[in-house]
Symmetry: C2
Subunit: 675 residues, 2 copies
Amino acid sequence: MRYLPAFLLFVFVSNAQIKKDQLNLMPWPQKIEISNAVFLLNKDFKVNITGNPNPRVFKAATQFLRRLDQRTGLFFNQGFITKTNEFPEANLQINCLREGKVGITEDESYQLAVNTNKITINATTDLGAMHAIETLCQLLHNNGTQFYFPSVEINDNSRFAWRGLMIDEARHFQPVDVIKRNLDGMAAMKMNVFHWHLVDDQGWRIEIKKHPKLTELASNGSFYTQEEIKDVVQYANEKGIMVVPEIDVPGHASAILTAYPEIGSKTDNQTAYSVSVKSGIHNPTLDPVNPKTYQLLSEIFDEVCPLFPSPYFHIGGDENNGKEWDSNPKIQEFKKKNHLKTNHDLQTYFNMKLVPMLKKHGKQVMGWEEIMTQDMSKEAIIHAWRGVNEGMKPGEAVVKAVKNGYQTVLSNGYYIDLMLSVDSHYLNDPMPKNVDFTAAEKARVLGGEATMWSELVTPLTIDSRIWPRTAAIAERLWSNDTVTNLESMHKRLKKISFRLEEIGLTHIRNKEVILRNIANYQGTKALNDFTKICEPYKVYKRNGGGKKYFMFSPLTLFADACNADAPDAYEFNKAVNRYLIDKDELSQSEIIYYLKQWINMNDELIVFSKNAPLIQPVLPMAQQLSTIAVELVANLENKKALNKTLIQENLKLLNERNSADVELAIYESLKKLAE
Amino acid sequence: MRYLPAFLLFVFVSNAQIKKDQLNLMPWPQKIEISNAVFLLNKDFKVNITGNPNPRVFKAATQFLRRLDQRTGLFFNQGFITKTNEFPEANLQINCLREGKVGITEDESYQLAVNTNKITINATTDLGAMHAIETLCQLLHNNGTQFYFPSVEINDNSRFAWRGLMIDEARHFQPVDVIKRNLDGMAAMKMNVFHWHLVDDQGWRIEIKKHPKLTELASNGSFYTQEEIKDVVQYANEKGIMVVPEIDVPGHASAILTAYPEIGSKTDNQTAYSVSVKSGIHNPTLDPVNPKTYQLLSEIFDEVCPLFPSPYFHIGGDENNGKEWDSNPKIQEFKKKNHLKTNHDLQTYFNMKLVPMLKKHGKQVMGWEEIMTQDMSKEAIIHAWRGVNEGMKPGEAVVKAVKNGYQTVLSNGYYIDLMLSVDSHYLNDPMPKNVDFTAAEKARVLGGEATMWSELVTPLTIDSRIWPRTAAIAERLWSNDTVTNLESMHKRLKKISFRLEEIGLTHIRNKEVILRNIANYQGTKALNDFTKICEPYKVYKRNGGGKKYFMFSPLTLFADACNADAPDAYEFNKAVNRYLIDKDELSQSEIIYYLKQWINMNDELIVFSKNAPLIQPVLPMAQQLSTIAVELVANLENKKALNKTLIQENLKLLNERNSADVELAIYESLKKLAE
């Protein structure tokens, strides 16, 4: 926290009782009552578990104790919890009736009661008990000398059954430890589905023992062994998370076809299939009329399915641009002969051959919305992803799916890779508005999924692109649909973001690593100040339509230290809005404070850049901002007339594409101040 | 970097050529010449490999490109290097005559020549080539707008063959990703032996398929599967690092005996063996007269040996306090019958039974120095660890071992867990001084090993306890014994420490995580300032003789954010020393600057503590320091007479044990100023 002038600094010192709106819970529980009592923590705090839970709840309770101890430094006497009924007098009692089946059909409800002497968790399943433990973690408060839980009564359950996060392993491979810490983050936010996008044009990431060529030729050395996959699935299961694997077919096939070109649809013999090193939609597509295609997929499914207990298997099916199919005479002839009018029909023919291959392993097919055609099996779950970027109404596939008898999951509006605001994700609801659904239809909207497409993320930056925004999405999927207040969400999200660090997420700590590298270790304050008002180019702009970044290009640049929801921009924009209405002194002071900070920032960046070439790309923006800021300060402080030409010039430059790949999130506010 | 007053701030802006003493290489090469030319980097920079190397050099070269790209943002065109002779015109040519055998007997030499148009690496083996790549990484410089390598000619080789790091997995388990990033750190510092201490009183960490009870009953759920071990060994091999496993016997046996109490030496049937949750020397010892002991160990070795290609197997053998043996009549009788006078003799009997078990797997025994008795096989490598803390001359076992025909490795003086200064480690040399060794005897001193005992480290803090001090130890083990200048080492170590971040080490970034937690997210500057003048209690003081911390106690406290070699204390102490000699104005200004900072720091800590109980333990120290500082400032600035009684009172309090478990590293300087 920067040291703010006195008018902005306040220190919250209070021994008063906590009120409900001071709780930083996320997702917000369905029902919560708070009273004036507190439960004080000391080193004799103990946990006891009763009932018939899966042993995973012992691990969860042990980890809870460790997290609590790390936050309080109380040196609890209790070490490892390994069985039920060990301490019947313990002040935290966790009662689970039975083991829960990880997935989307289980009872995840819980009751949490905190009283002066006792804390009680009651849950039908251990899944609900683990959710209760996470809520309890979030309830920890202190009064300066002691730690305590406020006395609450919570009854909670999820609104949607499918509360997911997808991670794309193909564009940038994420090692196991990255996955595990994000599973921890998901569990902390009561999310229960991990969609593992394991294959794409840029890489094949699964060991297939019968077909070692896939990893030998199409993984660039980065893939998971089957042991690693089992380990991750087990880890997820212990956190109450179901893992849904995806092998994206028939498009997105550059990797598969690098290993097995004979099942590709390309007829041009001059270029070979190769693992792609760029983003975008690629042409390589599996040949749907070649029996070898189905043989290979069948053998792959035979090895992959047993690794995943989940009853769902995602077959992808998106963005098949049909180019290779259209220019393949055999395929064209096949379409004619079999009355498959369009490529969509041919793809449905293809998909329907996969359905029994997976069904024999107990798997129900799921796919991106393009699989939804007239003849596609109603058992398939439709993954709705398209919206305005694809020229369609946001999530219109949800309505179509539901009306046509399909279950569906919404990802449009939860594309966290696009660097959009947390507000946009938070207000995006899987249940379409202004549509009449019957109860049966409503039930087909299973939930939603945040999608971490990894064209522009590495293990160093991925946590910062997932968190904390995905916590807000988690609330949208769990909490009541009346929980929509943006200010409350922002306030709570700030605290939740900090708490996510303690479970190992690197979304906060890695920023300084990037800045230290950029600054060539000379000092990062100026750069850090700048990241707080810049946001990476949104949607697909940063990658210049897939042209700028190779999959191995550096992602340790200024844009990688920036994020959506630039925090100082948020405050500055609010102050400017207030000021333009009220012209009040407090807001004016805040505005001047920031402007002066940015003038200093520019001076410092210029000095440091002499020994740090990576600072160069941000210098023009910093200078343009400083020039405008000087004018605005003089005007606000001394009523000096604005040099509007100079300001407009610099605003124009700020509006052009820069090589730092970031936009100035205070741009509109500067414009308004300069009018 | 804090913003220092003008007299302390200097900006190094130079287009002048780099001089040798401006290079930040570590370990310092055997021979290096520098000239005035430079090799400029651009996006067409390419690497070509020739010769007959192991494919690991392709990976190393690819990673080198990625690291370079991340530091320069140049967007290299070259992606993955997968074979030799791909770009004969490339400006970086790496020539390896042959594959190197990972271990301590291989040629690790290299020549590195940087010219204006070309960089050439020549090495007998790919191991030498990979060392050269690390040196080249360290040579990167910039002139504000461009990146370049200065023109150098380097001929380099290691002084010692055994340059190791040991990590203790038993006291605090470290997951695979922690191990891998530390292997990366080792490779960056040209270290080649990873000693894996896999078993101790506090846990058994290896999957043994024939004896699942070991992990089921004695691991608290934390252990490595054999697949994971193979993966780590493979990873290390690709970095030129040999992994030496250790199963510590016959003492340190609480874990083994929890699973197999029948082979313990205890005759008291009232207490059961259990996995220990405390530090220290424990009684549980294997029964050396029970044939089942040897059967179990033999079966364990049969499973573990094949996982490790290394020809060395460490059997521990330290700190057998003999208590259980002394009170076991059967064992006493056995000693009498077999003329084994002392417990040392009995232990030698025990060790000599292990030798053939390991030899049949091609393993040579290594053990802590206590195994060195008259009848111990000369093939055993003696690991010298005892010194003044054990009431002996530092590393005296080295001399004894060498004179008695044993090969030996030194760890005394490299115990990085004791929080001693980097200077003490740096000046500690495996080759004893003032002893006459023949050439053959000298050759028996294989090298040294930093030992990361993990009683007080977790995955969150372990990197900060290993790095950067181990880099200085790496230099001691690689470079010429004339490379001993402390000032040069400190200067280079500062830069090397930053560079270690880019390969994934968390020694810098995790400190702020700890401080944020302590500060309850209110702002960490004051705490950070305080960590820069405090050091954790040294040697075994922090743990209060093993009494204070359970193995599951929190290590997220102020002492865990502190480290050896507190940086501001280093500067302040130097300034005070200069001032006391010269009474110069510059030093006086620096002293006053720091004192005022600490007065402010105390005020801020008091304010923040109102919402952060974890700050409480440091408040007394901060106040005592502030009281003294106020007096000193008034005296230095205004010549006000010192209130010596008040100062002495507070110095006395500062000297007492505090609950924050840290000592004030500027204590002596304050004393001197107050005289």
